[in-house]
């Protein structure tokens, strides 16, 4: 039979009454709170008994303190005198139990009680939540800027879109938590003047919905990127979890070694910074080496050129140069990259000279991007965005079999970019060579890419 158990206590930090009730229930079942961890609370088996619990806060305490300060010990002495025994503490949060019947509560003055809760909130809960919200607002601002300049990129990048949705959920959760606390604090202060402690709200079903929202959208974000990108994200996420675990272990070790709180804080912060740099470096290295060595290349062959390894992409392209002409070069790279979200997909395609070879302007190259719009209402937005990329002039759409066509000739006359609008897709095709295009070739483009 196990003598310890871990539980996740789904409660607001200031919902003391509900927490005290739960701890008493656990004691009656034979489980006494033993420790408060980063995520889980640990319980140890005891003889089932009726105990009274008191959850309170000591605002001057910190999770970096090697041991309780003299002031904190004085507080414990007062509590012990009234029969309260400390069972677990973490930073400012202190949990006591009392075996006596109807003990005098640790806090008997609601004004002081609300004040100590607010001191705790100002020291950890509010800065933490507001900090997270500030970072998320910054991310939102960056996403909005990207949306303003390149909405197609946002609409077709599943990972970006899903991550944005996940982070929006996190922002709403933080805002709800802060808003709920501020409302409670304002009401509790008034109630305390009348000698009452206002019960605090617990976590609502809404919070569970937002947690689910975040988990689902983050999973969707990972699933919507290529395996290689998912691996890089995975390294970052696992690295982040590893950093947190290492920081917590280092902090605990320094506490056991009785190092002062300031030194502990400085070392763990420094460690966090160095480890973050290492993880970022590892992810960048993985990305570079993975690309160079084709670790996730789905069986693509590689070739060596000037001492470097390149991937010999030979993807199946919807339209090739060979469909339009005889290019006179047989070592082409045929590369197809897909970005997709539930709203739109983008296929970026290039048929060109091998990477690493000396550039030869006489070898014709073809590159095009297809934007497949899955939600008709977004078609106009994508069209406008793509039209803004170059100084297009209207062209005859008939030979392309398109509804609209635009052309932007290279200023040096050595090529053309065409924008072709079909029913649910927009094609931007670049001929990197002097090409006027015969009606047959244009019809071929329309037939292959028009959808």
């Amino acid at each position: 039979m196990k003598d310890t158990k871990l539980r996740y206590e789904w409660l607001s930090f200031y919902n003391r009454s509900e927490l005290e009730r739960r701890l008493a229930q656990m004691a009656e079942k034979g489980w006494l709170l033993d420790g408060i961890g980063q995520v889980f609370w640990s319980y140890r088996r005891i003889e089932p008994k009726k105990l009274t619990f008191s959850v309170c806060y000591f605002p001057e305490a910190s999770s970096f303190d090697p041991e309780p300060s003299e002031e904190q010990r004085t507080f414990y002495d007062f509590c012990a005198h009234a029969g309260w025994k400390l069972t677990a503490a973490r930073g400012q949060l202190q949990v006591f139990y009392n075996e006596g019947p109807d003990p005098v509560p640790i806090e008997t003055d609601p004004v002081a009680e609300v004040d100590s809760i607010h001191q705790m909130a100002k020291k950890s809960f509010l800065p933490h939540n507001l900090g997270v919200m500030a970072v998320l607002l910054l991310y939102g601002w960056l996403l909005t800027s990207l949306w303003n300049t390149d909405p197609v990129r946002v609409l077709t990048d599943g990972s970006l879109l899903w991550a944005g949705i996940a982070l929006l959920g996190l922002f709403v959760m933080c805002a709800l938590d802060v808003g709920r606390y501020c409302l409670w604090h304002a009401r509790a202060k008034k109630a305390a003047e009348w000698g009452e402690l206002l019960p605090s709200p617990g976590r609502f079903q809404l919070d569970r919905i937002f947690y689910l929202w975040m988990v689902v959208s983050l999973a969707a974000s990972l699933l919507s990127v290529p395996r290689f990108t998912a691996a890089v994200i995975g390294v970052r996420v696992l690295g982040g979890c590893g950093i947190v675990a290492l920081i917590v272990s280092a902090r605990q070790w320094l506490k056991r070694e009785k190092e002062p709180a300031g030194k502990n804080r400085a070392i763990t912060l420094g460690l966090g910074f160095i480890l973050s740099l290492l993880v970022v470096t590892a992810a960048v290295w993985l990305e570079r080496e993975g690309t160079n060595r084709n670790w996730f290349g789905d069986g693509c062959a590689t070739y060596e050129q000037d001492g470097r390894t390149y991937v010999d992409h030979q993807d199946g392209l919807p339209l090739t140069l060979e469909d339009l002409m005889s290019p006179g070069y047989d070592r082409y790279i045929r590369e197809l990259r897909v970005n997709e979200s539930p709203l739109a997909a983008k296929y970026v395609i290039r048929q060109g000279q091998r990477y690493g070879e000396e550039y030869d302007g006489s070898i014709p190259e073809l590159s095009y991007r297809i934007v497949q719009v899955k939600v008709p209402a977004l078609y106009g937005l994508c069209r406008e965005s793509l039209l803004r990329r170059w100084d297009y002039v209207p062209a005859d759409p008939a030979p392309w079999g398109a509804a609209e066509a635009y052309c932007w000739p290279f200023p040096n006359g050595a090529g053309n970019v065409f924008l072709l609008c079909y029913e649910s897709r927009i094609v931007e095709i670049t001929f990197d060579f002097e090409w006027d295009g015969t009606p047959t070739q244009m019809a071929k483009v329309g037939e292959k890419l028009g959808g």
Binding site: A82, I106, A112, D115
Partner: protein, 104 residues
């Protein structure tokens, strides 16, 4: 309208200050208040700790002795004045009650 700090005293503040008319430590106060009030009023250990800190910071009490973690305090002139003022306020309230109820 929130009550200005220590302009009026709560029952617990009043009895803590009353205890401190003579030198005593925190634990003495925890025991004395219930016995002074026939068990009607008790002060929680957390509340007492906070109030002693606040009274000390406001100059209403001062530390007289430190033996290990046991600290003893006594009321200052300022604390005494506040206690007297609170007593006068309560007395005036009682007088008003007596006069009002007496008239009826």
């Amino acid at each position: 309208m929130p009550r200005a700090k220590f302009q009026t005293l709560t029952e617990q503040m009043f009895y803590i200050l009353l205890c401190l008319r003579e030198e005593c430590c925190g634990m003495d106060i925890l025991d004395r208040v219930p016995s002074m009030t026939g068990g009607r009023v008790s002060v929680g250990s957390g509340t007492l700790y906070n109030l002693l800190e606040q009274f000390s910071a406001e100059g209403m009490i001062r530390e007289t002795r430190v033996e290990g973690r046991k600290r003893s305090y006594i009321l200052t002139a300022k604390g005494n004045e506040m206690l007297d003022r609170e007593y006068e306020r309560i007395r005036a309230q009682a007088e008003d009650y007596r006069r009002y109820v007496g008239k009826e």
